[in-house]
Amino acid sequence: MEPQKWYRFLEIAAAGKGLVAIARLLAEVSGRPVVICDLTLRILASQVLPGNTIKLGDYLPVELPREAVEGAFYRGRLQDAGGELPFLMLTIGEVTLYGYLFLLDAGEDWEPYREPLKAAALAAMIEMSRSRITQEIERRYRNEFVQDILYNNLPNREAMVNRGHLWGWDLTRPHLLVILSLDRQGQQERDETLWERWRQLMHYHLKHQAPEIILADRSDQLIILIPVATDEAGVNKGKIAGLVKSLQKSTAAHLDGRTFSAGAGRFYENVTDLYRAYQEAKVALEISRLLRRRGVLTFFDELGVLRLIFNQGEQELEDYYEETLGAIQKYDAGHNTNLMETLATYLSASGDYNRAAEEMFIHVNTLRYRLKKIEELLGQDLRRIDVLVNLYTALQVKVMLGR
């Protein structure tokens, strides 16, 4: 490629004309459609040539190619209504990855596009790193402010409300607080790129679906503040559940079926009390983690007895479990039965015989027989509420202890 064209790409980047201008120039030079995506494959800029019928949505529907054909160049095929479209892809950024540059409709004859693609990717990197820096600075200030609220570092309500105004937030209104954290897969180490992709995804999602929501992050957790108009728990919880559900959907769709766990604090009228909701949300999240739950939203005020037991020492919990369920475990181990599972299913079905039997694929009389066996082993009456509460708690302890 002639040096002037390199020069033109860099000129666009230097002048800050934006990704669209870069895409347009590349399309012009190559005569092919061009798409620039972020790490979640959300389309940031695209240039389709006149006469071309490709329909692009918000996200580019491709699987990221895994093997490079040469250097940072990848080739793949775009699934389109009109069939398969070959493309050439180049990563934007090397050490820090910013996104991907796609040249569509580029088949075996890709060689001539190497130089323009490289120039365009470089220009895009300059553009994206610049806006990343701006975003990062904003994010840092926003995080610091939100954390100053949540860690009680501001002197009074007035200071919070006034500073909130600078951000366009009305902190005189009550806010619900939810925290989110990606579920790890097995013993996996923390994955920076994944976290970054997820954070950006959630940020984008909220910005478009619910711009009034405040988003901040700390360590590997996202903090969400939802302004609400009422103190009615049912309405508010429904609102949180709805939001979490849509965020789960988006996460699963764009991050290979990944899930996150969420914890929600109680409702507080005043912004000065939000710090408690924050701590509560974190406790709810940690307890759901201890119970090895995944993809679940946990409300602090629904933890109930679990809140009381998590403070107990491991030995106390072991003893409690042994005393309450030890006999059943021993019987199961000695007779190759599954009374423990039966009991757990029965309780999680809230004592509904038919539902429990169905879940276990057994006849309802088999279930009755097993429950009778359990009563015999424990010497306790499963119709008594105190017995059920104990067994339920012990089953939770069992999960916590990883038994």
Partner: protein, 182 residues
């Protein structure tokens, strides 16, 4: 940036210099740091070590959550502070902390707690306890995301799952042992 204590259980000798230094620096009352001995079976082996513990400046401080008087705050560097001006001495934090960090001072009627010698930290100095340690077992670390600097829990320490202390520990290592046959 988050600050946290680091304790090397191989190095700590339980000499209590940290306790004494804390009391000297913070004045009369009780030291905000206590050295406890641990002895017991760990994965089938007998182990003995000392846990020198103060406030763990938790990521999820329970003291902070349960205080009805907004007495606590957590600085941007992670230091959890107790503002005694607001403290009514209700002792909820004393009961809530799994590590016994906040303690009730009978003479002032308020709770006191390790503040990581915040006035020294802000002047670029190490906390009094760290400075006093003769074997460099106790240090202050900067915890960065995604980098593990030691164990989060060892036997003898209360549960860390909920509160997520910033304390990091180096677990004891064991050498070869030849005992007389009795």
């Amino acid at each position: 940036m988050r600050l946290g204590f680091f304790l090397d259980l191989n190095r700590c000798l339980g000499c209590r210099a940290c306790e004494g230094a804390c009391q000297n620096w913070k004045g009369p009352g009780f030291p905000r740091r206590l050295v406890r001995a641990f002895a017991g079976q760990v994965r089938g082996r007998w182990q003995e070590y000392y846990l020198s513990l103060a406030c763990n400046h938790c990521e999820n401080p329970e003291c902070f959550r349960v205080c009805p008087a907004r007495t606590y705050n957590k600085r941007r560097d992670g230091i959890v502070l107790h503002n005694s001006g607001r403290c009514s001495g209700c002792n909820r934090c004393v009961r809530a902390c799994p590590f016994g960090a906040p303690r009730y001072n009978l003479t002032t009627g308020k709770v006191e707690k390790c503040d990581l010698c915040v006035e020294r930290i802000d002047n670029g100095l190490a906390p009094a306890c760290v400075e006093a340690c003769p074997v460099k077992a106790l240090q202050v670390l900067q915890l960065d995301e995604g980098k593990e600097l030691g164990e989060r829990w060892v036997p003898g320490l209360a549960d860390v799952n909920i509160t997520q202390p910033t304390l990091r520990l180096k677990a004891p290592e064991e050498g070869e042992k030849f005992l007389l046959v009795g």
